[in-house]
Every structure is written in structure tokens, then in C-alpha cells.
């Protein structure tokens, strides 16, 4: 479903992605872990064209976003990126719109869903994230956990095949992370294909099919959660994990 080869990306003289290659199959949940500055966000953002890579290939569901450093035409880029949804660390809800309007803005203006079905989708998704009663509330009046659940519902409105999460719980108070992780876990159980950048090791172990450990722009180790998290092979992984558990 996602095939990535030799991704390279620099910010000025700083090489942030150094030949990243991996693939994700349909219905797979991949958790990306690694120290701060290792390039996790940059990698994720490159997939959905929020960053442009300098080299490498990104192929989503048979379509190239970029092939050996050359980007496809705008139409293809639009088609490829529309297969994905993204959830940000800081939610990025639209503060001037109510919860319902936040969900419905994109389907209305992009006309991806028939008009008369939009509010049905809204209700179904808000119910799914447990916020049906917050429909007409502005984001400013929601807790962090509620905001992130709205953001997930908003990303689901366009019925993406793949969801990308960049540290969805890092901006939340510890007692609010559970409600968000629960929603992501439910999506995993419904076989949504997901890449989740996270610092929540327990969650990664429970929900991910595979772990990717990144450091300094490279994938250091990858494998199923038990082997990577409980029995890491590489020194760097061990050091990172022992640091986190303290």
C-alpha cells in the first residue's frame, strides 16, 4: 500500500532523512519511534506532501507521489495525497468553525461526498469518537483529548485509506491520552492502515503490527513490537528504550 525507497531530505546543510526505505501493507499499523530530531515527523510529512524530499520514491496504492526524486504532476499528487488523512500533534482544528463545521468543511468544498450524505457521516464519526454532544461547540471550548478526537473524526470524513498520526498524544495531559489512544486502537481493530509516530511504548506494543525505530535520519531497527521493544538487537535501540522507561 505504501512503498518508500531511499528517501532523502535535507534542511540546508542538515541531512534529516538518509536513505529511508520501508513499506506498509494494507491494514497494517506501523508505529514509528525514535529520539527527538531523528526525522520521524519529516518522514511522515513527506508522505502527504507537507515536505518535499530531495531524492527517493514514494508510491502509494500504485501511484507515485515522487519517483526517484521527481514529483508527479499536480493532478497525480492530489490524487495520491487524497488517499491519506493526517492527525497532527497540535490538532490544527479550525478555531472559527464549530466541531460539525470542522468536519464538514473539506467534504463540502472538495465535493468528495454527496451533499445529503455529509451530515450522516458527521454524526456517525462524532458518535464513533464519543463527541456527538459537542457538535455545535467551538474547539476553544474542548479539552485537548476532545480536540484530538475531533481531529481524527475530521480526517476520517474524507474516507482515507491510510491515516498518518504525528505524536497524537504528545500535547495532551497524561490523563487525556487514554481516550485518544482508544480511538486509534479501535481504528486498528477496524483494519485501518496507519502510521503512528509516538512516544507511547505501551500503546505501540499493544496496537502496532510493526515498529520502526529511527535515529539520525536512518531506520536503525524494525520488526514486530515484541522483538524490537523487548528484545532489541541494536545497541542504539537498547539505549533509547532504557532511556524512555526511566
Amino acid at each position: 500500500m505504501i512503498e518508500i525507497e531511499n528517501l532523502q531530505k535535507s534542511f540546508g546543510s542538515l541531512q534529516v532523512l538518509k536513505n529511508i526505505s520501508f513499506s506498509v501493507s494494507k491494514n497494517e499499523v506501523v508505529a514509528v519511534i525514535g529520539p527527538s530530531g531523528s526525522g520521524k515527523s519529516t518522514m511522515l510529512r513527506s508522505l502527504i506532501y507537507l515536505e518535499q524530499v530531495d531524492g527517493g520514491t514514494i508510491k502509494i496504492d500504485g501511484d507515485y507521489l515522487v519517483k526517484e526524486g521527481t514529483y508527479s504532476n499536480n493532478q497525480t499528487i492530489k490524487r495520491v495525497t487524497s488517499k491519506m488523512g493526517m492527525v497532527f500533534q497540535h490538532f490544527n482544528l479550525f478555531p472559527h468553525l464549530t466541531v460539525k463545521q470542522n468536519l464538514e468543511l473539506a467534504p463540502r468544498v472538495t465535493k468528495k461526498i454527496p451533499k445529503d450524505e455529509i451530515s450522516k457521516h458527521t454524526e456517525r464519526l462524532l458518535e464513533k469518537v464519543g463527541l456527538l454532544d459537542k457538535m455545535d461547540v467551538y474547539p476553544g471550548n474542548l479539552s485537548g483529548g476532545q480536540k484530538q478526537r475531533v481531529a481524527i473524526a475530521r480526517a476520517l470524513m474524507l474516507q482515507p485509506d491510510i491515516l498518518l498520526f504525528d505524536e497524537p498524544t504528545s500535547a495532551l495531559d497524561p490523563e487525556l491520552t487514554g481516550e485518544v489512544l482508544k480511538v486509534i486502537q479501535e481504528l486498528a481493530e477496524e483494519s485501518m492502515t496507519m502510521i503512528v509516530v509516538t512516544h507511547e511504548m505501551e500503546f505501540a506494543k499493544r496496537v502496532a503490527d510493526r515498529i520502526i525505530f529511527m535515529d539520525e535520519g536512518k531506520i536503525v531497527e524494525t520488526g514486530d513490537p515484541i522483538s524490537v521493544l523487548e528484545n532489541p538487537q541494536k545497541e542504539r535501540t537498547k539505549r533509547f528504550l532504557s532511556g524512555i522507561e526511566k
Binding site: 497532527f88 482544528l93 473539506a106 475530521r154 474524507l158
Partner: protein, 219 residues
Amino acid sequence: MSFDYILTVLKPMLEGAQITILLFLLVIVTSIPLGFLVTLLVRSRLKIISYLAQTYIYLMRGTPLLLQLLFFVFGLPLIPFVGEYLILDRFVAAALAFILNYAAYFAEIFRGGLISIDKGQYEAAQVLGLNKFQTTVRVILPQMIRTVLPPVANESITLVKDTALLYAVAVPELLHFAQTAVNRDFTIMPFFFAAIIYLLMTLVLTLLFKYLEKKFSYE
């Protein structure tokens, strides 16, 4: 002081106030969109366009409005060769100066409003498939309007009072008629009337912007 006297003084002043209000409305409805256009030019990716727009703002904000007024009303016709084609109606020339001056101030206000919008808003709009135009109209502008309303209100109230500069280029407006009456009748009352009329105008504006701020608030 008789009621009749008040009426005879007020009548020309109210006619002058019409010029004041006409200028105000003309400047507001043209300089706000023009200012927004200048903001977009400043943000243009073409360096030369951005520099030109910035120079324009610098000139307009860096010199006195009074000087600009005098330039447009009395200076333009003196330019060699083309001057004779630039003899405009004094009110029109003055309005032009006001519009260009206020557009520069509004452009700076709007630029500040745009800067204050989080980068994440653009990113969220992009990953949701909105194009540039949809993002601007549906996501950015509504948020920008809210942040710029207070400074725009401020500028508008300043404009009401700046209209009195028409006095300097001999376009008869509210203050002109007040001054005439003061000189003629040797009483200070017309100045008080003028003050009250200005205060009424700014009161209307204050209330209008209060209403708009409420309308554009969220939470």
C-alpha cells in the same frame, strides 16, 4: 443663545459633515480592499513586486498625511509636462491621497493578521484537500478578520478625525464651517458642536465594530 442661532450655525456644519462622511466612506470602502491587495503583493514570491509594495508602504507611512494631501492637491499639477493633465477636483485629489495613505496602514494591519495565523492551519487545510483559494477564503480570512478588527476599528476612528485635514487643502467640510462661524460670530460654541458631531460619528463606529467583533468571535 437662541435655538434659531444654533440652527443657523448647525445647518452649514451638517452640510460640511456630509463631505466628511462621504470622504470617510469613500476611503474605507476602497482602502481596505486595496490594503489587502498590497498585503498580498508584499507576500508575493516575486521579489521585485514585494519590494515595490514595501516601498509604497514605507513612503506612505514615512511621510505626513498632510504632506501627501498637499502634494496631490497642489503638487501634481506642477509636475513638468504631465502636470496639466493632473489637475483634479480638489476633493477627488484629496480622497486619492487619503485612500493611498490608509491602504498602506491597512496593508500593515492585514500583514500582521496573516502572520498571527498558525502554520498548522495551512497544513490542515492542505491535507484535507483544500486548494489555495479555498484555504484563503474558508480558513485564513475568517481568522484574520477577527484579529484585525480591533486595529481596523482604531484606524477607522483615526480616519474620522483625519478628515479634518481637508481644511488644509480648502475643501469645505465640518471643521471649516465651524471655524467660519467662530470667526464670524465671535463665539466658541460652533467648536463644541463640531466636537459633538465628531463624537457621534466615532460612537457609531465604536458600536459597529463592537458588533462585528462579537459576530466574528468564537468560543
